[in-house]
């Protein structure tokens, strides 16, 4: 049995020792099955997000070629540890981890599958489709759900600095006769349009000061998968509408919608998009790679409560959830009541996980945009035992975005990045719940690997415009080595 502490911050020692002591006591009492002990890993995590999909103690079994495999993990979220319930939570997990052991009664909403294919992403999409209604019910805009209460993407000083940097590029290209009549730049995930507005205001002001007359040549592509969001953003832009071009674009695959702009876009910006795209998780243990499969569920008691409160039948609850995902809050005659049901359901939604042994990366079902060589490089140079995100959506988006870049263009992404694989050993980086959406840290180390093999060096710098911000800025430069 191995204990792995994934939370190395000061002041955790006592909490960790309480959990370990309690677990050892259970083992001493014979409540941990002896057959699992040689292959048991107890993971002590601090889950980054207070609101998440995990029980205080969860069991991860492993499979290989469809059958059981010896490795078992019990993952404890130290953040949820409560002295009163700790003993029961550990005992329940131990019983489940035993050969033939079962989880407590649950209503399962889907079969096991890759995380990127889970219905949690349907919930995520539903949230962005009905964000306005969600905000009406909660009385708070979605930005209020962010840890800082506002988006770092709207920081005016940061925007002004970014505009100056871009302007310098234009001046240099102009001096070399490289500037074309149309200057393409784009923002993927436009939110309310606030950032585009601030950016264009700053650019126009600078252009007037410098007198180069670049502003009318701008083609600011507002890209979002939601036409409603695009319309709102366009309205917000007011007089800048003349230089704005709304485009319906799936952030997971921008090139598909914008292929005519290949090698033409000089500046691409995204804020808080990658952290909201589907991901997969992988685990490195004892020299083996496992891919995490998940299925979502609710505890049977929670289903009972929800059904009683909202008038649903427990035996058809899974179908009710699917109906909610299809039609949204109008699943109930009173949409406000439907919203409350959705919120309550979301807060109770949990994920069960299992680890699938990968014998050969070349045969693994990796997310699009990810090649075995990307992972091999990372795994070879990374820590021996770690769980990390494959950031499937972000990698796919990144790989599908960079072909749009002009030979002198660059990509800039503001998000929460893990920049080295070792950082995963300091905390469990997702998935978490943010209002109705899913949030994950983004594996920047993997993006750097993907970038390197596409001819870009990927750099990260901390967002220094707000104290305490966890945002980093990813930017690309052409790999000149």
């Amino acid at each position: 049995m191995i204990f792995q502490v994934n939370d190395m911050r000061k002041g955790r020692g006592e909490l960790i020792s309480r959990v370990v002591s309690r677990w050892m006591a259970l083992a001493g009492e014979g409540k941990v099955h002896k057959d699992i002990l040689p292959h048991l890993h107890v993971q002590l995590d601090w889950v980054q997000y207070k609101s998440n999909f995990r029980e205080a103690a969860m069991v991860r079994k492993s499979i290989r070629n469809g059958g059981p495999s010896p490795l078992v993990e019990i993952a404890i979220d130290l953040r949820q540890v409560d002295d009163e319930t700790l003993g029961r939570a550990l005992e329940t997990a131990a019983a489940e981890a035993a050969p033939g052991g079962n989880a407590p009664p649950r209503v399962v909403l889907e079969e096991f599958g890759p995380m990127r294919s889970s219905i949690i992403w349907a919930f995520n999409k539903l949230y962005w489709q009905h964000r306005t209604e969600w905000e009406e019910i909660t009385g708070a805009g979605y930005e209020k759900a962010l840890p800082s209460g506002s988006s770092d993407g709207h920081n005016i000083q940061a925007i002004q600095d970014q505009v100056v940097e871009f302007y310098d590029l234009l001046v240099d290209m102009d001096a070399k006769g490289q500037l074309s009549d149309e200057i393409y730049l784009m923002e993927i995930g436009v939110g309310s349009g606030e950032r585009a507005l601030l950016w264009l205001d700053s650019f126009l002001k600078l252009d007037r000061e410098k007198g180069a007359g670049y502003y009318p040549k701008l083609r600011y592509l507002l890209c979002d998968y939601s036409m409603v969001a695009l319309e709102h953003a366009l309205e917000r832009l007011g007089p800048h509408r003349e230089v704005a071009v709304p485009r319906e674009v799936d952030a997971m695959d921008p090139f598909r919608a914008l292929s005519e702009l290949r090698y033409k876009v000089l500046y691409i910006h995204l804020t808080n998009v990658y952290d909201n795209l589907p991901t997969d998780d992988a685990v490195l243990r004892d020299g083996r790679i496992y891919l995490i499969e998940i299925r979502s569920y609710l505890n049977a008691d929670d289903v009972e409560d929800l059904c009683q409160t909202y008038g649903f039948r427990t035996d058809t609850f899974a179908e009710t959830v699917r109906e909610l995902l299809d039609v949204g809050p109008r699943v109930l005659d009173d949409p406000k009541q439907g919203m409350r049901f959705w919120m309550a359901l979301w807060s109770k939604l949990q994920l069960e996980e299992r680890m699938v042994t990968v014998d050969s990366l070349s045969e693994a079902s990796l997310p699009s945009g990810l090649k075995p060589s990307h992972l091999e490089e990372l795994v070879t140079s990374g820590p021996g035992t770690v769980r990390f995100q494959l950031s499937s959506g972000a990698v796919g988006s990144f790989a599908s975005t960079i072909p749009l870049l002009h030979p002198r263009g660059y990509l800039q992404v503001m998000d929460i990045f893990v920049t080295e694989l070792t950082q995963y050993r300091g905390g469990f980086k997702g998935p978490g719940k943010m209002d109705g959406s899913v949030v994950n840290w983004v594996n920047g180390a993997l993006l750097a690997e993907v970038g390197k093999q596409a001819g870009y060096d990927v750099h990260f710098k901390p967002f220094t415009y707000r104290e305490g911000s966890r945002t980093s800025i990813l930017y690309t430069t052409h790999r000149e080595r």
Partner: protein, 333 residues
């Protein structure tokens, strides 16, 4: 062996397998030895030749499997060029190479590589070298007064090697000069250096100019207008240019500036993984024939296939061969 009208060829490189990339990087760190990597290269070259033959190309190269990139293969071989640090993080990275004194004339060792190619195919062959202009953009100059002087001296040294290549049986030599597009202002002295390079070299000389293909993306933007009329002074038989991903707009330049060049028409987009249909290739070739007589057209990809995976590269070359065949048939050839 003669080639048909609208002959087909690769520009130079063939798909670089990821296993070979890894081995090259390991060799850079001296994790594997010289004799092993030489053997690996021989095997890879044979496989690249075989794939080109299977795809039906009329003219084949060694796939440039021995080359880390278009600069270092020559920087390592050019007498007088020094490389202070031999290990690199990734084989594809460039060495920091430097010239600290006058370049002496000495064999570069290209002959053996050419002979290996020749010994492993019955098809027409092409051997590619990086031109002096592109080399001076990556080799640091600490001796000559300027880039032009260094380029002319590189041309002087390489000219001897090219003549040796011809003696060894090379009938077609291609000079790669992608950096022309990044530094159009250098064109007058670049062409001078090119002419010095090929002076007295009794072979069919091809000049390849693209907008860069490092990591499968362009390094520069623009159009080929900058080449004319200066390029008309280049003592070459063939210009090979990229027209697939950039479109055929620049083809009109060959009407605007009358010339006798053969034109290697880039008809395959090597910066994109989707495999063209033969009909699309045929359409691109026909478009070129509106500006250049068929007798002077050679059909190629835009640039090297280095960054494409093997199945994609092979599929594209196969489509190119079939597309050329469609046009040949319609010409009654």
């Amino acid at each position: 062996m003669s080639v048909p009208i609208l002959p087909t060829a690769v520009v130079g490189s063939y798909s670089m397998p990821s296993w070979l990339e890894r081995l090259k990087t390991e060799y850079s760190f001296r994790k594997i030895g010289k004799s092993d990597i030489d053997e690996v290269h021989d095997t890879a070259v044979k496989a690249a030749i075989k794939d080109q033959e299977r795809a039906g190309l009329d003219i084949v190269t060694d796939g440039e499997m021995r080359r880390d990139n278009m600069i270092d293969y020559f920087a390592e071989r050019l007498p007088g060029v020094e490389i202070d640090t031999r290990s690199k993080q990734f084989y594809y990275d460039f060495y920091d190479s430097v010239v600290r004194g006058k370049l002496p004339i000495a064999p570069m060792g290209l002959i053996d590589d050419f002979k290996f190619l020749k010994a492993n195919t019955d098809r027409e062959t092409k051997f590619c070298v990086t031109g002096p202009h592109s080399l001076v953009k990556r080799i640091k100059n600490e001796y000559y007064p300027g880039e032009e002087e260094l380029a002319l001296d590189i041309a002087r040294v390489m000219n001897v090697e090219l003549k040796e290549l011809v003696r060894a049986g090379a009938g077609c030599i291609q000079v790669d000069e992608p950096y022309y597009s990044g530094f159009p202002q250098d064109l007058p002295w670049s062409v001078k250096a090119l002419n010095a390079l090929v002076d007295g070299v009794d072979a069919r000389i091809v000049l390849h100019i693209c907008y860069g293909n490092r990591y499968g993306k362009p390094s520069w933007a623009g159009n080929y207008r900058y080449l004319f009329p200066t390029i008309l002074d280049a003592n070459v038989h063939q210009l090979t240019l990229e027209f697939a991903w950039r479109g055929g707009e620049d083809l009109d330049l060959f009407k605007q500036f009358p010339n006798d060049f053969e034109v290697g028409v880039g008809a395959i987009d090597v910066k994109n993984d989707s495999i063209e249909t033969p009909d699309l290739v045929a359409e691109r070739i026909r478009n070129a024939l509106n500006f250049i007589p068929a007798e002077r057209v050679v059909v190629l990809p835009d640039c090297g296939c280095h960054n494409l995976s093997q199945p994609v590269a092979f599929g594209k070359l196969r489509a190119m061969v079939e597309g050329a065949a469609i046009v040949r048939t319609s010409l009654g050839a």
